[in-house]
Amino acid sequence: MSDIPTFEVDSVTKVYQSRGRRGQAVEALRDISFTVAPGQSLGVVGESGSGKSTLSRLLLALERPTSGSVRYRGEVISGRRERDLRDFRRHVQIVFQDPMSSLDPRMRVHDLLAEPLRALHIDVDEGERVRELLASVEMPAAAARRYAYQFSGGQRQRIAIARALGPSPEVLIADEPVSALDVSVRAQILNLLTGLVRDFNLTMVFVSHDMAVVRHLCDSVVVLYRGRLVETGATEEVFEQPREDYTRELLAAAPRLRAQRGLTPSN
């Protein structure tokens, strides 16, 4: 089982065609290939506009690649109809960057957390499962009756993480999960994520522009630059001996990296 990769991204290209007669094509990703092994934590790094978010949407089969394919445990998921993706949807969940916009303002926390269970027809006691999920992200059970806007940014992100854990996924895609948060709470959320990945034996794809965080969390890394994959390999290798100029530049742009290997917030 361990020889079947969790994700297999095979020469994926994604072109966005803007509408209209003179619509220009924007190439978000070009010929990207990599694999994610079960239990692995993969970091996807690159600056904004490098195609990171497009990649996470392709991994979730929310968009179809223009060419190439994405496989999950050996099965092609790219371009499949929604009804064929039932099992896949249970297995792969996402945490977005901004918990304010990723949580419906009209739903109470209970419903936010119960929605994935209802949608995926997971037969559990809703109230009990919601309490469990809140506990796993260190939130009190009473939070279930409130709305997301009644919480701070860090707490909202905990709620978003709890929602992603609801269907007991095997893979967690974290798309810049701390970039929108105050520096003071980033470490808390990152430590929570690390703990959850360990406790639930999750495979994680961690999308970020923050090299220090990726180094802390991930055992291998994919470096994107303008939609192209410039470098991939084990985190330590890539960080100690970057082969590509762009990777070196990215590392140089994060000067506190060498001085500060831990994740103590710098406030």
Binding site: R89, I94, F96, P105, R146, G154, Q155, D182
Partner: protein, 294 residues
Amino acid sequence: MLPSGARPGEIEVDDGFGDVEHHGRWLHNPSVVIGGGIVALVVLSGIVSIFWTPYDPLAVNPSHALAAPSMSHWLGTDEYGRDEFSRLMASSQIALFVGALSVLIATAVGIPAGLLAAAREGAISQVILRLTDILYGFPALLAAVVLAAAFGASKMTVVLAIGIAYIPVFIRVTRSNALVVLNSEYVLAARAYGRRTFAILRRHVVPNIATTIIAQMSLLFSLAILAEAALDFLGLGTVAPTASWGTMLASSQDYLGSDALLTVWPSLAIVACVLGFSLLGDGISELREARRRS
């Protein structure tokens, strides 16, 4: 809001607090209070007039024609000796009926079409939007004239003309607001856990655009009442002797020099009613904006 970075253990959950705050805001908004008050008064007088009016609004009494306001006839009588106050009360029935039914027609067609246009990009959306443009360009007054000519002037011709004229407004408001929700990350998250388009519309889009739609309904209700009065005035809607603010206004024209009050009463009723509904609509929009900023 809780202080940013508060440790989870320190949350003081004061259940129901949010609800209290929410109800309180409604009563602190002057537009909602004043507009709601006027609307309540109009609705009340409309309902009461079904069962009781001081006089029969249609009872002719030539010996009391064009009487000045008095204890027995609070607002005086018209040229046939009919009690003005009773007629004003009975007229609110027609205004409310036409307003409610035309807004209902406009929303019943406009909201589903707007949702469909937002959810299905491409051909379906384009067809709906082009039809909207055509409908938008078609003058409601002309529609009323055609309907009145074809089926005879009645309040139903007014309802149809106004209802159809407002369909494009609801399509546009619904579509543009639904698109904002559909492009949000919480909808993306919902798709990631397997929600399909219809469920997303029902669970996320409709609840999030409901307040905007209700505010729009209230505003269009006020415009519908105004349009109804205008069409009645022109003889394209309710016809004499049935009491409506528009027909009262039309028949009072002849007495403008001698009995100007006959013009004043229905005008005041129209102004108050329109003001009430549009204030209520504005108030609801203001509250929505305040909520969005919080």
